[in-house]
């Protein structure tokens, strides 16, 4: 193994992967260190019996359509992996259910969404029209101002943006709708951000709705591991080196600048640039260490809080989805309509009342599981703290108890489900903590409050040569994390170039 590289990438999560691949394609000498035996971080899969379970990808955003290609198309093209992947478009956004009160499917197109909502809530016909009109006009301002890079972004030109960007989503839902079921049906994507509409910026909810409706939700054939493997392949093909089962132990800092990395096996690598895809806690406090960590980085952390983790049941069924009444790829199942109540429940162990998402990939991609079988990922948002209080001796029993509560509720919606389960695996927040080595076990990173968004953070690296990318440093989800890796890689390339021209 060479001991000198232009860049050391720490962590092969989405952002680490796209950063490494971008750098290698531009000719940089890069080594990527991954403590696990497989790339992807959350973007991975595992096998049980005849099933390969998808770990985290529910609905990929940003791919778009042939007529209206989304930003992710270009990104994957740029990494040379677009042609190695096959995407499956989902026809619907989701089915949302509250037992005995609501059961509604929203198709993935504007007219369809509005039509379905108006059909179910005729009294609020006009409200629905007004709300989506606002979402669309708001987002077209965002596109003109930022995607088209308007040099002059002013309140006069973009009135809705300046009015609504920081407004909380709940107040906008309240201002438009009266029926709580309608608010639930429109706002349920808050689950993909981990904060209820009361704490979530309207801009974020509008972005999710707009993106999924216009660019369509997708799934990847073979699951997210295929994406991770494809990017590693591109990276290696461009001369990149990757070490699995080899975490970083230390980032060497001298005179306020990155000088190298020591691996967990004690190998020392000389470098001027580190791209960390690890959490800031790991990066600043464990890899750099308190003594070398700039105070500004710790101050920055202080205001933020860990986001939610997940309790997930992976179920392999020995039947096709329709045999147990599963007709949609994405199903949100709620016990009641109060977002804040649902959010409060994320801080408890119990799952008797928690909202959960059930994704069945085989609905949109019948070849996903073996013939005649299908798989479901059933996910409830749960913070790690209550799980950290469970005595180790009780851990397995708690897992089964919580899973039992969710399965009972699944059975009520999809009779016969239980009987069809052939393989089952449960992941708790502690499972995420373990495999991602992240505090909070949080694939979403920090909570996505506006105050912690990039608008308020300094874009400057806190340490010369240290660059960071991933959900902890921006937004969570596949499209944002994949993009953040590319952006960080470009920043490094710019800096390398600037250093070159200096005498």
């Amino acid at each position: 193994m060479a001991t000198e590289y232009d860049v050391v990438v720490i962590g092969a999560g989405n952002a680490g992967l796209t950063a490494a691949a971008t750098l290698a394609r531009k000719g940089a000498r890069v080594i990527m260190l991954e403590r696990h035996n497989i790339p992807g971080g959350c973007a991975t899969s595992f096998c049980r019996g005849r099933f390969e379970f998808e770990v985290s990808l529910h609905q990929l955003s940003g791919m778009g359509t042939p007529e209206f290609p989304g930003p992710l198309q270009g990104l994957l093209q740029g990494l040379g992996v677009r042609d190695k992947l096959e995407f499956v478009r989902m026809e619907d956004l989701y089915r949302v259910m509250v037992p005995g009160r609501l059961d509604l499917v929203l198709p993935a197109d504007k007219g369809g969404v509005i039509g379905a909502l108006q059909g179910r809530f005729p009294a609020e016909r006009e409200n629905i029209g007004r709300f989506f009109d606002l979402v669309y006009r708001f987002f077209s301002e965002v596109i003109s101002a930022f995607y088209m890079k308007d040099p002059e972004v002013t309140p006069e030109k973009y009135p809705l943006y300046f009015k609504y960007a920081f407004r909380d989503a709940q107040s906008v839902l309240d201002a438009h709708f009266t029926d709580p079921l309608l608010k639930l049906a429109v706002g349920i994507y808050w689950c993909y951000m981990g904060l209820p509409p009361r704490l979530l910026a309207f801009g974020d909810l509008a972005a999710i709705l707009f993106a999924y409706i216009e660019l369509k939700p997708c799934h990847i054939k073979g699951g997210s591991q295929t994406l991770s493997n494809a990017i590693v392949d591109s990276f290696i093909g461009n001369g990149g080196h990757v070490r699995f089962n080899c975490g970083a132990e230390k980032i060497i800092v001298r005179d306020g600048a990155v000088r190298g990395v020591v691996t967990e096996h004690g190998d020392q690598i000389t470098t001027r640039y580190v791209l960390s895809n690890a959490s800031p806690i790991t990066t600043f406090l464990e890899l750099i260490g308190r003594d070398d960590c700039p105070a500004v980085a710790l101050d920055e952390l202080k205001g933020a809080s860990y986001s939610t983790s997940f309790f997930t049941i992976f179920a392999g069924l020995r039947c096709e989805p329709e045999a147990v009444g599963i007709a949609e790829a994405t199903n949100f199942i709620c016990a009641q309509t109060d977002f804040d109540r649902d959010f409060a429940l994320t801080r408890t162990l119990d799952c008797d009342e928690s909202a959960f998402i059930m994704s069945c990939y085989d609905v949109s991609d019948p070849g996903f599981s073996p013939p005649g079988a299908c798989q479901c990922a059933i996910v409830a948002m749960k913070y790690a703290e209550p799980w950290l209080q469970v005595p180790p001796e009780r851990y397995a029993a708690e897992k089964y108890r919580c899973a039992e509560a969710i399965l009972r509720r699944v059975e009520a919606h999809f009779p016969g489900f239980r009987e069809q389960i052939e393989e089952i695996e449960i992941a708790t927040p502690l499972t995420h903590l373990r495999y991602l080595a992240q505090p909070g076990g949080s694939p979403y990173g920090f909570e996505q409050h506006v105050k912690d968004s990039s608008f308020f953070r300094s874009p400057k690296p806190p340490l010369k040569g240290l660059y960071c990318a991933g959900a902890w440093y921006g937004q969570p989800g596949y499209q944002p994390t994949l993009a953040s890796g590319v952006a960080a890689a470009r920043a490094i390339l710019r800096e390398m170039k600037a250093q070159e021209v200096k005498p």
Binding site: N37, F162, F166, N229, A304, A437
Partner: protein
Amino acid sequence: MKQDFVRKIEGYDEIVRERAICRKYGLDYSTEGGKIRSFINRLHPPRLMLRVSDVIDETPSSKTLRLVSPEGYLPPFQAGKYISIIADIGPIRTSRPYSISSPPNQRGYYDITIRNRENGFVAPHLLNRIKAGNRIEASAPSGGFCFNPLIHDRASVFIAGGSGITPFMSMIREVVECGIDRTICLFYGNRSDADVIFHDELLRISQRFRQVTYVPVIETPSPGYTGARGYITGDIIKGVVGQTGGRTYYLCGPPAMYDFCLPELEGLSIPRHKIRREVYGPPPDITRSPGWPSHIGRDAAFTVGIRGRGEIGARAGESLLNSLERSGIVVPALCRSGECSMCRVKLISGRVFQPAGVLLRKSDRQFGYIHSCAAYPLEDLEIMF
């Protein structure tokens, strides 16, 4: 400056105030470093440093090693899990998975019970060299051969062969010691009655606890033996359990036992999803596996290039993982049976034989990754990891 417009967004001032307050009174993360590791290590430490407290003779060919932790803490486990024992034999560092035979309700020690295997490498080392007081390095408990209350029936049928009794021993002991509401019917096959591990204890348990039935099945019994003979057939199973439905069947034993018993269970119309089987390492002779190219002998020698780290020699009849270890290269490994993917490496060029049942991810197949414990070279290879 780009960020200037942000100040004009409604609500900006409040957010700045909120941000300042949070930074002032928020969590001091500087104490958080290392916390994750200490939490996770209670359940899944990366390594266990153990000491052999006792060596217990079980049968002429098997012994139990009782393992304790010098620090006093052993992580909890579910009955049926195994630990991977690291063995340094001469210059070679290798590992083998052994199911824990002691019950999870006591955690003063883990018992592993080892039987000598024909042409064994690690088993003779552990049986002949390891003495009370020796140190042993191991993985944390792993594996998925456990009772799952979510989908398994409360009535279990255990089918064990030889040292395959060990995970069942842990389960049986737990069920009777903790008063768990399950019934167990154990069929335990062995070549001779002298080979039966835990016979006296199993007999005692089955006589005292009605929920446990114990049926030894002996291939070539000694004179005077009156129990079931031959292999564990469908007839023997049906004769004891009667109603075969509503039960979950668990198998643990050598590959030959699966080859025999699985069709027997099929003959009883046991649905496949009611049958759980533990992995049991590679077959004794891979070249006899279905699909093996007959023109390549087990001793055919090949060269394996490891990108960036030189070359080693390998034999067709030996797993790539073993060949790597033989050359002093340590690859992380756990189940050594093709399932857990710990020993995953990338195959850059060359062909390998991968027996049926290897749990390879679809995209690993697509991009040329293999599980080195379940991959046998059929020509010169180049790999990377």
